[in-house]
Amino acid sequence: MVLVYIDHFDGRAIPASWEALGVGLRMAEATDSEVKALVLGNGVEAIGQAALEYGASEVLLVDLPMLEHFRPEPYTQAVAQVVEKQGAEIVLFPTTSRSRELAGMLAVDLETGLSPDIVDYEMDGEVVVTTRPIYAGKLLTKEVNKARRPQILTTRPRAFPSPEKRPDTSGTIRQLVLELDEPLTEVQGYTDSERGVSLTDADIIVSGGRGTSNNPSLEPPPEITDEKEQEIWRAQQGFELIGELAKVLGAAVGASRAAVDAGYIPYANQVGQTGKVVSPDLYIACGISGAIQHLAGMRTAKTIVAINKDPDAPIFKLARFGVVGDLFDIVPELTAALEGKLSKG
């Protein structure tokens, strides 16, 4: 059996969960076995229903007040019990902060191997030969767990297609009753929630770098006298333009670390080795030089567009399309041009 863990937050499944389910369906077909989806939480029946529509033949539901918030200890114990009772040769998770931790701890409970964040795989009989990036994506490694079971894998968001949703399902939802230990931690709540399109799920990302502050002709309001504050104010004008382009495209806004460190935009928007790793269909880099640590986070984008003043900026080596020019001139014109084209349908 292939077990697929459905990650969710605030009542909604993380889209990459369906991609993992799609991988599970193909693996099950190759090994002539079946796919079960596992949903843990409190009041998560609707998510279970969605898992059926995405193709699970059976959904295992553990619905308990204790599982209201993700906490690694009870969640790990619950998945481990399900694997022990139901048997599973392969356990799949989408790569998210929660699932990565959960998969790691599950590997310890079951004394088996974990391949995190796979981007490809092939089947060698019942054995999954995974491919995953190492050294910040500079190399790829094949990774195999030959002898121990289950094989635990997490799938990188957007590396695999999502299965078609079909409302006519024949699958069933089964409620499981588990005895879980008292959790070791208590969730007090959430602060500082992110809004807008999530970076890792976005089809299109428009990103800004240090270049967003480089428009000397913009005059900050007189009450801003501090030089640093003036720079941030300029960058905000730059990110305003980037935000408008993103809005027209239904895109998420990203940033380089230089932009984040200088206080132009929150860390949640950072793309790169120490930020988020993204693989959108389209990545538009504005005023970003293309440092190797930035590329580590976006090199797998299908199409990269670079807008940069400097014709020698390394980002052009990776880009499919490039504009050598000032982002303050180009970005608003691009927004207007795309708006015209998109509104025409």
Binding site: F9, H69, P72, E73, S97, R100, A103, G104, M105, A107, V108, E111, T112, G113, L114, P116, V129, Y135, A136, G137, K138, L140, T141, K142, E143, V144, A147, R148, L184, T185, E186, V187, Q188, Y190, T191, S193, E194, S198, T200, Q273, T274, L282, A296, R299, T303, V305, F316, K317, L318, R320, F321, V323, V324, D326, E333, L334, A336, A337, L338, K341
Partner: protein, 260 residues
């Protein structure tokens, strides 16, 4: 407070990687302290400065990894220990977490163990939670702020950085805390620190020393390492008489190539 920080030696993130004889090669690029672990060390030192106690840096690695531990000492850690044994040469995270957990259990019982977010070579990002699981302690992962630490009540409250925002979580000590870079600004080693570190004798612990002589087979093997396909990233530079013309042409090309 007894504090442990687990650090790894990795490659400089600017190193150019190639494949030589089927193996990853980085030419003469230097090996460094895993950049994420500098934040873990800093947090360990800040905690010690606030609460008193001592900080021990623990590393599993080959002989060369001594340099990473020397840097930890130069930053201000009090002790450093290298777990070094040929048995750990092909360690996966399952084996590494077992060795680190066994090493921690050999130390004076700690109140807090700090980890970095991930090692920049293996990109695994699970060793901290795995060690927590082995020790049976709370795993506080991706911590961006420690909002409360009460040494006498033995409690800790942290903010975890998730995709959706910050989750506020509390737990009891001892606990494992894996940190992200928002948590602090790592200090540079002082001259005094560097001098002290250069003279320090770093003890070596073998697999037998931490009670792990049998049964340390990794679960994973790596049959092939290869470079990503370069793809035909011939960049098409869009030119035109003015920004509007350039933008118009770029928009057109994006539609033609069905990017949008």
């Amino acid at each position: 407070m007894n504090i442990v920080v687990c650090v790894k030696q990795t490659l400089d993130t600017a190193a150019t990687m190639t494949i030589v004889d089927g193996k990853a090669s980085w030419g003469d690029a230097p090996l460094v302290l895993n950049p994420w672990d500098e934040f873990a060390i800093e947090q360990a030192l800040l905690t010690k400065e606030a609460e008193g106690g001592q900080v021990t840096a623990l590393c599993l690695g080959p002989e060369t990894a001594e340099d990473a531990l020397k840097q930890a000492l130069a930053m201000g850690c009090d002790e450093a220990i290298l777990i070094q044994d040929p048995a750990f040469e092909a360690a996966d995270s399952l084996v590494a977490s077992r060795a680190l957990a066994a090493g921690i259990q050999k130390l004076d019982p700690p109140d807090l163990v700090f980890f970095g977010k991930a090692a920049v070579d293996s990109d695994t990002g699970v060793t901290g939670p795995q060690v927590a699981r082995r020790l049976g302690w709370p795993s506080l992962n991706l911590v961006a702020a420690v909002s409360d630490l009460d040494a006498s009540a033995k409690t800790i409250t942290v903010e975890r950085l998730l995709e959706e925002g910050r989750q506020v979580v509390s737990g009891s000590l001892p606990a494992v805390v894996s940190v992200v870079k928002e948590i602090n600004e790592p200090r540079y080693p002082s001259f005094m620190g560097i001098r002290k570190a250069s003279k320090a004798e770093i003890p070596r612990w073998s697999a037998a020393d931490i009670g792990l002589d049998g049964d340390i087979q990794p679960a994973l093997t790596w049959p092939e390492i290869f470079a990503p396909e370069k793809g035909e990233t011939q960049c098409e530079i869009i030119e035109g008489s003015d920004p509007a013309a350039i933008a118009g042409k770029l928009a057109e090309r994006l539609f033609e190539e069905k990017v949008i």
